[in-house]
Subunit: 406 residues, 2 copies
């Protein structure tokens, strides 16, 4: 094994006072939902809102005085960039972060805010990687790899030590897999402390790179996943053999389950998980039988999700629960009709969110119009009662927003 | 004093194993934002997502065998209902919750899910209260008041003991005020342990009932506040004298600050705070000079916020940051024009969220149309660059969504 339990224990002492010991709490409501006894490790509460703070700090603390002076470089558009920039600033190490040219400005700005020099280079992650390697060589900067580095792996492994200290009798520990740094460190630490524990990794079904590597499989890689933090096309040379030896299983989760898991963290636990951070819960929700009755530790690995994506997930869930519905009414196009309909909807307990008058459809009478109304209602039964009442009033009414299928 | 530090210490032992010891964590990003050294007590992570679990459990545990058998009753449309129902179910005490008739169905359902009998009675909270009192008397049920009860106050006070154990050198402790149960318990506990600590209460400016009571003031009460959990019109007979004696100050926060504080918890700390839960942070953000350089403990008292309200807060913040803007273009109404505009916007790096064609304005030429486009852009400067580029292309363009003023 390239990384030992002893090295992870040393890393644990190194991060003390520098990286938060995040809470690990029982989640009885998620337990009721899934049938497993769920405990959650809230790494979204780290200062840069992901577990990457751990490996980054241990790596930076391991550098010699000369290396610190020359500076460091990393390539990342995500959580690794934040963590490296944040800890470099605290340790006064000059830091360059290379990001692909199309990186959202908010991420560039967040990284710059820590005082990092950000270079936008290359169209893709691999272009950016190639450019970053050139720059590192030319300027003699120390490379900080996001996962394929024994020191980083040891840093990430500290999570599992904390989890097992809180709940020593965990049966299963579930962690997301991107390049494999978190799962590798977790597996070494957890199985070092407790040989019988089952360590399970989770990948997005759109990026099953570890799954492929373990099975010499050929599942396709690519596509827009909610879990962009683990959308990695090639796993680490160091992490793969560790996963092969110590990880019981790699599960693949699809997008609807990732979305439901993000939403469950939001609505039930009142915390924000990014897609990758919710992957463990998504796996338990997708395959409850596999976890039923077991004591399961989930790593909520990060909370950095685009607010617009999060808002959209929340609204989609309301639509799915039929708490927001859209109805189309065919009405006579005369003054007062909107007032009548709106008043009637109010009497029926529906809250009008949006109204649109449509006159250009050929299937309405020349003097008619269609009225599309988005309504907030109590539930599906309430929506149906409203439709029946409007029909009794003589309106032609149909539901036009079909809640997404589970 | 009607409640003593000793009683709160006893309550602390009573809740052990029944109510979560929630995390209290430093929040360096909020500290950077406000200039105070902020520590947050995450009561939103309680099982029913608010601190009300504490008082409710201590109260229920204090009942005699006979009282438990006869059952309990409470009136609440909010967090108190959840907590009483949850702990009554765990202790197998029959429980009736009275809610006003207009209570959102999702809250009714959540309370019923704990096995409570829910009665929808009365149009207003005070109607519901009167009905609940009649029912309690008729059925000989034990009344569980949300705040004006020495046992409840002792239970809420356990929060402050935990906070000062974690961070003994807090200078200031800030808690929201509704009826005053939380602030009263907090003040007795905190100042009992550490006389010099400053305890500050926060009310919504729309419901300054404690502020009025302390000053014999006459500020108006009422209106739709984001902090409906502390929208209370009359403070407790027990809580008022405690607040008068032990609380240094009551601050009033307005709606924009409540909204910004909810958003800060969301974006910076990756957790969900309801309006009342964010009131403490709102006060620090509104009056930073008052807290600058001090070690401040904030009670994030609850996370139960309507998902639709939360989604709307998030989108409004994006608009405020000019990451979502709406432009109105005057164009010729001919085939292909939408394609041209959309292509050009893509080239300029804007992501189109919504498009609306308007032909009915009198201030466009007969052959013209207005095109309203909602765009996701990087920031205000990006939005302005896009407008200049479209103007150079010959389009008449104006911004129609004015970001809300701070």
């Amino acid at each position: 094994m390239t990384v030992t339990l002893e090295e992870i224990s040393v890393a644990r002492r190194v991060i003390e006072g520098h990286v938060l010991r995040t809470p690990m709490l029982p989640a009885p409501n998620l337990s009721a939902l899934t049938g497993a006894e769920i405990h959650v490790k809230y790494e979204n509460l780290q200062v840069t809102n992901s577990f990457k703070d751990r490996g980054a700090f241990v790596k930076l603390a391991s550098l010699s005085e000369a290396e610190r002076k020359r500076g460091i470089i990393a390539m990342s558009a995500g959580n690794h960039a934040q963590s490296v920039a944040y800890h470099a600033a605290r340790l006064k190490i000059p830091v360059t972060i290379v990001m692909p040219a199309n990186t959202p400005f908010v991420k560039v700005r967040a990284t710059q805010a820590h005082g990092a020099k950000v270079l936008l280079e290359g169209e893709t992650l691999s272009d950016a990687q190639a450019r970053a390697e050139q720059i590192a060589e030319a300027a003699d900067l120390t490379w900080v790899h996001p996962y394929d580095d024994v020191v980083i792996i040891a840093g990430q492994g500290t999570i599992a030590l904390e989890m097992l200290e809180e709940v020593p009798d965990l049966d299963v520990l579930v962690a997301p897999i991107g390049g494999g740094g978190l799962i590798a460190g977790t597996a070494i630490a957890a199985r070092g402390v407790k040989r019988a524990i089952e360590v399970i990794g989770v990948e997005s079904r759109l990026y099953p790179s570890m799954w492929n590597a373990l099975r010499k499989g050929n599942l396709p890689l690519g596509g827009p996943t909610l879990a962009e933090g683990i959308a990695v096309k090639s796993v680490g040379a160091l992490t793969l053999p560790i996963v092969r030896e110590l990880v019981a299983d790699v599960l693949l989760v699809d997008e609807p389950h990732l979305e439901r898991a993000v939403n469950a963290y939001l609505c039930i636990e009142k915390v924000i998980a990014e897609g990758a951070g919710a992957a463990g819960l998504a796996a338990v929700m997708a395959e409850p039988a596999r976890f039923r009755g077991k004591k399961v530790g989930l790593i909520l690995s990060g909370g950095n999700i685009d607010p617009r994506v999060l808002a959209s997930i929340m609204v989609r869930e309301l639509e799915r629960e039929s708490r927001i519905v859209a109805l189309r009414l065919t009405v006579y196009d005369r003054p007062g009709v909107l007032g009548e309909v709106a008043t009637r909807l109010g009497e029926l307990g529906a809250n009008i969110l949006e109204v649109e008058h449509r006159r250009l459809f050929l299937d309405v009478p020349a003097k008619g119009a269609k009225l599309d109304v988005s309504l907030e209602v109590r539930d599906r039964a309430h929506a149906e009662a409203i439709m029946r009442a409007l029909a009794r009033d003589g309106y032609k009414v149909e539901m036009i927003a079909t809640p997404a299928v589970e």
